[in-house]
Symmetry: C2
Subunit: 342 residues, 2 copies
DNA sequence: AGTAAAAACGTAAACGCTTACGTATTTAAC
DNA sequence: GTTAAATACGTAAGCGTTTACGTTTTTACT
């Protein structure tokens, strides 16, 4: 493997000059620089990043750290993988490489022992997951490494963040149902502690208020398919006049559709159902699920781009990025049938 | 941040002694070593990994590189994410960190410009995906870095690999149907070029031969849910006597179930269906899908463990690891109904 | 007590770059 | 043509460790 010395010897110049030539720094004549660069390509010379890091105290590594879900059976949420792909798409076109790790409870407890940071392996980091404690984020900010948090919001703290527009998305979802003529709308919500659920609920409520409607809201303790099933049954029992359901996520929406089928309700003829997330199986279900798409890949891209921007200009103030969610209209929603002229 | 000099000064010894104490190398009295280690913990001293790497020429980084799917719309296959989690689970307990990247066409074309390697950022790597060209793997082997390939097999080349037992799994799947009394079994296969499909098909065939049965095999050009639908329709048209379906993957199995419902066939009463993969949606479908589970997380673990083993002992010869797949019995398969005493 | 071997520690040279500073050479300005 | 300011390059000191090779001290053995 070629080293910088070799190039220096070939051109009978110092390694400092070669370094300057290769790094686009001033102090080298254009003619010499071009020849050095050309020869470097020929030799497939790539600077040893370890040596470069030590000398420049930059690793050109960024970390992507996802909080493991303590409550989730399915540890590996594809949501964060799609975000990872967005991040990769951006870093691949930069000088930076991506280092990943799962944030466990022990890391959270002892941030000072979080090795990617304590060993100074990274120049900046993306922290993903709603359940990263504020204290941990604070500890990371104190390292003075640039930080972007994704799918997480911190009140009263200046930190770069990327989130989807839960409230606006839910607002549009409800409007979609209202535009289709539905006036008796049931909402299947998650636990109150789940912040996204709360925000989405606000969006639904806002749209309903503007249309002069009152929603039939049901809170579940979980956000699983099964809880969606039971939610629909209870909702329908209490309010058989309901013609549309808005669920705070796709899993619950799919559960609601399943329960509806068991009750003899046809979707979308008797009941329209809209979800939130746009998970893969929504498109495979029968009927396919109308939902609000969260642009996960884009969220990853935004996070990575923001990080690179801060790396470029450390003076940059933190910003909160909110990406819009889009309606994906599929089979599970339809015009309300005008039964009995009601 | 504490540096090694600080420790050396505190104890009035040379940094060499501190380094030896911290790295469990001989040449330090037990008493001094213990005091140094204790004090290092107190100070949260962590050696700067960049300096350590440069001096020891080891990065303590391993790479996980997944081949992007040129043909797949859904670039981010959760399959490889689960493998990533398995890898992480192992590396988290080791001194190594995980660096990820997507293998694009341009990397494949010019392996010498693959930066994680050319910049010497990693000590070893895991290559995942069936469509990594042999030449690329060869190029990586030539770097003399330890390599493990996952979900990929190379003929006539000694290389560490981790794969699932396609053939054995399919054999068991077919046996499951046969044990349930089915004798007219349809097989929904993928394109001939897809190696996994071919191996699974061999497993089905083997079991059938042993039971003295002849399968009704249909090859599709794709492996999507839609092609599973059309496959079932054609299969049922040609062979209405079929009472069970074995599909080479879950997506096609789910498609077959959907088509069956449209034909008025009840699953599992009229038709048993078994898949392969155990994708998440299979458990949410109605009825839930019986399938063969590929232990993806374990595959990741095996790959990482193998890599660590080779890193420990570079003399270790390459080995081919095959992990078993297990039957996940759910609702979509049942005993064949004895119609007309047939 | 004397000697050899083992253990404990120090010295200093790497590792392969970047970069502050110094020197020589060119260009620009009058 | 002289002087000042750019420009081009060289020198050498890092960056924070590891480790080969010395040197000194302790241990073991006769």
């Amino acid at each position: 493997m070629a080293l910088i010395d070799q190039l220096a010897q070939e051109f009978e110049v110092s390694i400092a000059t070669v370094s300057r030539a290769l790094n686009d720094k001033p102090g080298v004549s254009k003619e010499l620089r071009d020849r050095i660069v050309a020869r470097a390509r020929e030799l497939d010379y790539t600077p040893n990043f370890t040596a470069r890091s030590l000398a420049s105290s930059r690793t050109f590594n960024i970390g992507y750290f996802v909080r493991e879900k303590p409550n989730l059976v399915l540890q590996q949420d594809p949501f964060y993988y799609e975000i990872q792909h967005g991040i990769e798409a951006v870093t691949a076109r930069s000088a930076y490489h991506l280092s990943v790790a799962t944030l466990t409870y022990s890391h959270i407890r002892k941030p000072s022992e979080f090795r990617p940071v304590s060993e100074r392996r990274i120049d900046a980091m993306i922290l993903a997951g709603p359940d990263i404690p504020t204290e941990f984020v604070m500890a990371m900010l104190k390292t003075s490494l640039p930080v972007v948090i994704v799918d997480n919001r911190l009140a009263n703290t200046a930190v770069n963040s990327v989130n989807c527009d839960d409230e606006g998305g839910a607002y549009h979802a409800a409007q979609h149902l209202i535009r289709l003529g539905h006036r008796q709308i049931g909402v299947i919500a998650g636990p109150l502690a789940w912040a996204s659920s709360a925000r989405r609920l606000r969006g639904y409520t806002q749209a309903a208020q503007e249309a002069g409607l009152r929603l039939h809201i049901l809170h579940e303790q979980e956000t699983s398919l099964e809880s969606g099933e039971s939610a629909l049954r209870r909702l329908y029992e209490a309010h058989p006049e309901i013609t549309a359901i808005a669920a705070v996520n796709d899993a619950m929406a799919l559960g609601a559709m399943r329960a509806a089928a068991q009750l003899g309700l046809r979707v979308p003829d008797d009941l329209s159902v809209i979800g939130f997330d746009n998970i893969a199986w929504g498109a495979m279900n029968h009927p396919t699920l109308t939902t609000m798409n969260i642009p996960k890949v884009q969220m990853g891209k935004e996070a990575a781009m923001r990080l690179l921007a801060v790396l470029e200009d450390p003076e940059l103030m933190p910003s909160e990025i909110v990406v819009p969610v889009q309606l994906v209209e599929r089979e599970s929603t339809a015009l309300r049938k005008e039964v009995n002229g009601q």
